[in-house]
């Protein structure tokens, strides 16, 4: 039997059609980690939001570039975690600098329709880092500490 994979790397067009493949990779690694349902949910949500951001905003519509995803069973600050790295070569953009949208106002009509994705991505992961280098482009890291179906919160 093939042992469960500890890391998966995937590279493809920054288009919505590629999103299911990216999410499948995350799901496969969650299987390997025996991640509990809440962890699976949160990672799927965080990766969807992060990747859709790249797909919609990193490149111009007539010149879509690549998105690369690395997902691995890892350690973060000494604790077992699933780590997701997302790379693109589009325009420099730090999603972590986006302001949190202000929901909860009485005036529903004044609420913006956008900006929620990054907020959710941050809420459901334990750590996020962003960097940009001319040679390698945008690099977003998302970390979620491992919680397994056996009930061990690592």
């Amino acid at each position: 039997m093939t042992p469960p994979r500890r890391s998966i790397a995937l590279r493809g067009p920054a288009r919505l059609e590629f999103l299911p493949s990216l999410l499948d990779a995350v799901s496969e690694l969650c299987d390997a980690a025996d991640a509990d349902p809440a962890m699976r949910h949160d990672l799927r949500l965080a990766v969807e939001e992060a990747c859709v951001n790249v797909i919609r905003h990193a490149y111009s519509e007539d010149d879509p570039g690549e998105i690369a995803l690395d997902v691995e069973l890892s350690a973060w600050e000494g604790r077992p975690a699933i780590r997701v790295d997302i790379h693109d070569r589009g325009r420099p953009f730090d999603p972590l600098r986006l302001a949190t949208p202000q929901a909860g106002t009485d005036d529903v009509q004044a609420l913006p329709l956008g900006g929620l994705g990054v907020h959710l991505m941050r809420q459901v992961t334990d750590a996020q880092t962003y960097s940009h280098a001319k040679a390698t482009g945008n690099h977003l890291t998302l970390v979620k500490f491992l919680a397994t179906r056996k009930g061990e919160t690592a």
Binding site: L16, L19, E48, E49, V52, P101, V108, L111, G117, L120
Partner: protein
Amino acid sequence: MNISISQQDPVTLVAISGSVDSLSAEKLTEAFTGELNAGRVKLVADFSAVSYTSSAGLRSLLGAVKDSRRLGGDLRIAAVQPDVLRVLSLSGFTSIIKIYDDVAAAAASFGTAA
């Protein structure tokens, strides 16, 4: 994601199943817009079979809430499952959108407070 629409006067029931995500949310927005354009502005979204929503789904819901209220109606949600409720809560939507335990309660709410 699947959508099924039925009339339960005075409300229109929009029953959704599956995942409301970046790939499917546009279909939901189109369904809401279709009902609102036809003058059916009292909408109940049955979320009992929705297992997942991302910000794309939230945008669709918020758009329909705004448009329906502008037209004198509302979009209310019934039977939200725990993962989805958490996303609604993290986004502050639980204070924007009226959420009910089941479809009957959501439909009945229009009888007195619409």
